[in-house]
Amino acid sequence: MDIYLQATVWVGLAFLASLVSVRLGISVAMVEIFVGALGGNFLGIQATPWINFLAGVGSILLTFLAGAEVDPAVLRRRWKESLVIGSVSFLFPFLAAMAYTYYVAGWSLPAAKIAGIALSTTSVAIVYAVMVETGLNKTELGKIILTACFITDLGTVAALGVLFAHYNLWLVIFLAALAVLLPFLPPLARSLFANCADRVSEPETKFFLLVLFGLGALAVKANSEAVLPAYLAGFVMATVFAEQRQFVRRLRGLSFAFLTPFYFLKAGMFVSFNALFAGIGLITVLLAVKMAAKVAGVWPLTTLFRFGRNDSAYTTLLMSTGLTFGTIASLFGLTHGYITQSQYSILVTVVILSGVVPTLVAQAFFKPEAETVEVAQKTSTIPLEKTFS
């Protein structure tokens, strides 16, 4: 197929997904995955090298921007709770899903590792949206939960980057480059923003692409994953980006208009409906394993940190959600041949369901108690609230 015809089909699907997302008020990522699945199963769309490249860059920028959304102040202030809850929230489902798929479902060890990583994630965005609705994002409890979610995702990308890496010289070079570059990234970026910002040629955008591509290249050489350095780079850039909202907006525009749609459409394209229906039992079990492992790990900790019974259940369920990083891990497994298309279809479906089911349960049965809601409603009222008379 002609390259422009391919582009027309893919961008057409991305455009359609955007319209549906705006109309229905559902996340564009989720709609793109769904549209991609329809395209893959019924239109026969296929990925080409240039689509793979754009999708790859999309996932790198997505991860970079996700890492940059962490609140360093909260992380510094409440590092103990955030670190402990976030780490356990990663580790328990990772081990449980890996053990189940390896010992019970009979998957190979690399496939089981991918399953563990994909199902260990927590969707920061889903948690954040739910918290804004309840106003919890302004409370200390909400900030701890959000920061813990970043730690969980850090665990996910670290596992993805480390578990499949080749332990050779390239890995040493990659880690050395990370150790040298990351501390200098914020001052370098600050200097660039001070001297070259707001130019049509966007030198600062090119600078970050250079850093991400360079670190990504080293990561790939070590058979690691390019999203690991991207997430870490985003993490260290969080403070600078908080001061550069216009730049983040431009970078986000570039990513979401042209790059991430290719990533999410591609992620959906590989979902086989036949495999999905055939694996419906395993999908249900894996979803239960993920949620049960999160409950077993996070719930006792929230109790330990005196969250209160309802808040504990609410926090645990929110931390059971997943979306973007789960699909990144699954797609990594598929493209590197660690999992089959059937296993991929099962994992992505579980990841999507884990974005929906725990949220619904949390909202239906464990919404914060009256006192918390009262505070929440006050804080979620617009700042332009005033009395007119």
């Binding site: 996700a66 954040y128 309840t134």
Partner: protein, 146 residues
Amino acid sequence: MFKKLMVAFDGSPPSFAALRTALDLAQKYSATVASVSVVHLPDYAGTLDEVDENIQRARQYYEKALQQAAFLAAEKGVELTPHMLFGHTGERLVEFASHEGTDLIVTGARGLGSLKRYLLGSVSNYLVNHAPCPVLVIRGKAPAEK
């Protein structure tokens, strides 16, 4: 009789009709009016930016609409307090009314056809069925405008 009125306000012409009616009633009963605007955030968001963008967009939109609302309230000499909440419109409006002890909810009707009402959901219909207090649905222009 009615001391605390609440208007479901989304800045649309039907919601302005509801606001005018509420202000009219508030003037008669010496009541206060809370205008409540609910912003729907994307379900199962993919990124934080997606959520923040909706909040920003809503803030810009409502700033303008609420200025007009404030002007109308000032004309009538009625106390109007605007609120912006996030979530599913019907649910949040009912929660607010319950929490604040609202005596009457005034809402506009978009006049959706049956298919659109099925697909998009009718806020006024939800309020009538779930609100903890009487609900006044204004179809067309506000009585005061006629």
